[in-house]
Symmetry: D3
Subunit: 73 residues, 6 copies
């Protein structure tokens, strides 16, 4: 049943994506006792010029040395 | 008004996608009496390594001969 | 596999929603040969003041006698 | 940066939802080294008559004793 | 054509939501020369315990006096 | 907090996308007093054969000289 949509900027490796799919599915099973066979995870990879934070694209922020972590405590 | 977002793995032909758009729009008109001219259908095609079921990517499942139909009765 | 998200304004009956779920699933099976048991349809019902067309909420448009079919040919 | 949208049927407790938010955020930090302060998780709770699997609503399936786990191995 | 989905926590007034719908539609017309009559804006209002930032729900953060602006410069 | 998902057909320039990100963020700050640093805008660019209006793909409509503005008043 659960359907999880993960939006991230492009750049993750296939190994990292596989880890995300496995980890999120495990959480659904452990926390909500969901059936893994009907648990769907979709990873949506977004170009950095198509993701804006604080009114600027991540691409611009990174070109200026500001990672998207601009809001890191 | 209706906005329908269809998420499928990559691989459908343009003819199949045209059939989906037409079929779904017809359903909205027939069942809900919606105006076809304000009925929007978007097809989101997902890479098989970006779609996970049962903690594994569809790509891996297919490489092992298990289609996404692993949950087929 | 397919995951279909249907956004409509509030007002559909349970029978209509059941017909939509059945009809959309049948399309996936007929057109894309998908497994009905891994075909998910979610209906997202939106309040009329939370859906805008032409810069106005559907609620306002309907109050002025303009249905969302304002763009009906 | 990451934005994760979790679609589940209604019924999770606030504690379970808090665990999901925490667990998913931890995965983003551990696997992708993301900044937790710009990691957003939204939980979308869907009525059981608005979620369809195999052409039937989860509400109907459950009334017939078939949980959404109908595809459980 | 454009379909804009605005996810915010619950709490906006109808006037604010009307302003958002109008403002976003105007941007589409001004910047992309889109037809306002086929520009759809949906506002998705999320309960504060269903929106997580930095692993905690906005509800918890606000109870501790930390608004979601925890990442404000 | 706000997360805005802008769905448009492919074709916008990077400058137009930057204007959209900036304009939408400004609206969130001005109308809802949101923190720009936790305001995320994602632009989802859709192929014209994957976007249907009135049961036809935008690609087909444009090939027949009908722009997506078929519903223009």
């Amino acid at each position: 049943m659960p359907f999880i949509n993960v939006n991230i900027t492009k750049g993750a490796t296939n190994e990292q994506k596989a880890e995300l799919i496995e980890g999120i599915t495990d959480l659904m099973v452990k926390i909500l006792d969901k059936n893994p066979f009907s648990t769907h995870v979709i990873i949506n990879e977004v170009e950095t010029e198509n993701w804006g934070i604080a009114g600027r694209s991540v691409k611009k922020l990174r070109e200026e040395g500001k990672t998207a972590n601009i809001s890191k405590k």
